[in-house]
């Protein structure tokens, strides 16, 4: 017997969970600010573009989005299971595919920002 590959996705899940717990409240709060019409200065096009174009910015954004995607993907797989959907293989393929797509999109957009 050997350690299942789940070890890998679980690692991403745990890392992503910690990250979202720390960061997503602030992220949601920013969207809330935007929704109220008080767009903060840092979220003006110039500033945010500069940030996303920097290597640090790219790295931060990539890690956050990547881990969050995989965190959510793994949890959704469990949620499906908990709701009684017992096609685990299919569900796993679906959620991880979406996470992969999201990851690729993130990478593609980040690379294109210059």
């Amino acid at each position: 017997m050997a350690i299942a590959k789940k070890a890998v996705v679980w690692g991403l899940f745990a890392g992503g969970g910690t990250l979202t717990a720390f960061i997503y409240p602030a992220l949601i709060a920013l969207f809330l600010l935007i929704a109220t019409g008080n767009v903060p200065a840092g979220l003006q096009y110039e500033q945010i573009h500069t940030f996303a174009a920097s290597w640090v910015g790219k790295a931060v954004l990539f890690i956050v989005l990547f881990l969050s995607l995989w965190h959510a993907a793994h949890r959704l797989r469990v949620v499906a299971h908990d709701f009684g959907i017992r096609k685990d293989k299919l569900i796993a393929n679906a959620v991880y595919l979406v996470a992969t797509l999201g990851t690729l999109m993130t990478a593609f957009y980040l690379i294109s920002i210059s």
Partner: protein, 132 residues
């Protein structure tokens, strides 16, 4: 054979209705929908930056405004705090206990440490975003 063990049926789809503990757990797990939502929302925002178009960014920002969105984000924030952030902090010492010498560091210290870090990180994000 006289034995005939009785297996109590358990519903694969509604088992979590049985007690409050399970319901809270399910609510916790479903925060993943929010994570998906906000992650992709952010990716959409990135796409406008990638397109190198201030107008597209502005469009995106405008599309996110309005009372409906305020209510939605406010509720999402509360839900997320109470079912993802706080539980995650609460459970953190279980996954990574800290032992110094003979004594386990009380879990509450680790939890408090998480809250402090969280406030700090949030402050940094707001500061970066120019909201502070």
């Amino acid at each position: 054979m006289s034995r005939q063990p009785y297996v109590r049926p358990i519903s694969k789809t509604t088992w979590y209705m049985r007690n409050g503990r399970y319901k809270i757990y399910m609510l916790r797990e479903m925060t993943s929908f929010l994570v998906v939502f906000y992650t992709f929302l952010t990716i959409v925002a990135l796409s406008t930056l990638a397109a190198d178009s201030p107008a597209a960014w502005q469009n995106f920002i405008s599309s996110q405004q309005g009372p409906g969105m305020v209510v939605f984000h406010a509720l999402a924030l509360l839900y997320f705090l109470f079912f993802q952030t706080f539980p995650w902090f609460k459970l953190a010492p279980k996954a990574m206990p800290v032992q110094i010498g003979e004594k386990k560091l009380p879990g509450s210290y680790i939890v408090i440490g998480h809250y402090v870090a969280w406030v700090f990180i949030s402050a940094v994000i707001f500061w970066l975003a120019g909201a502070l």
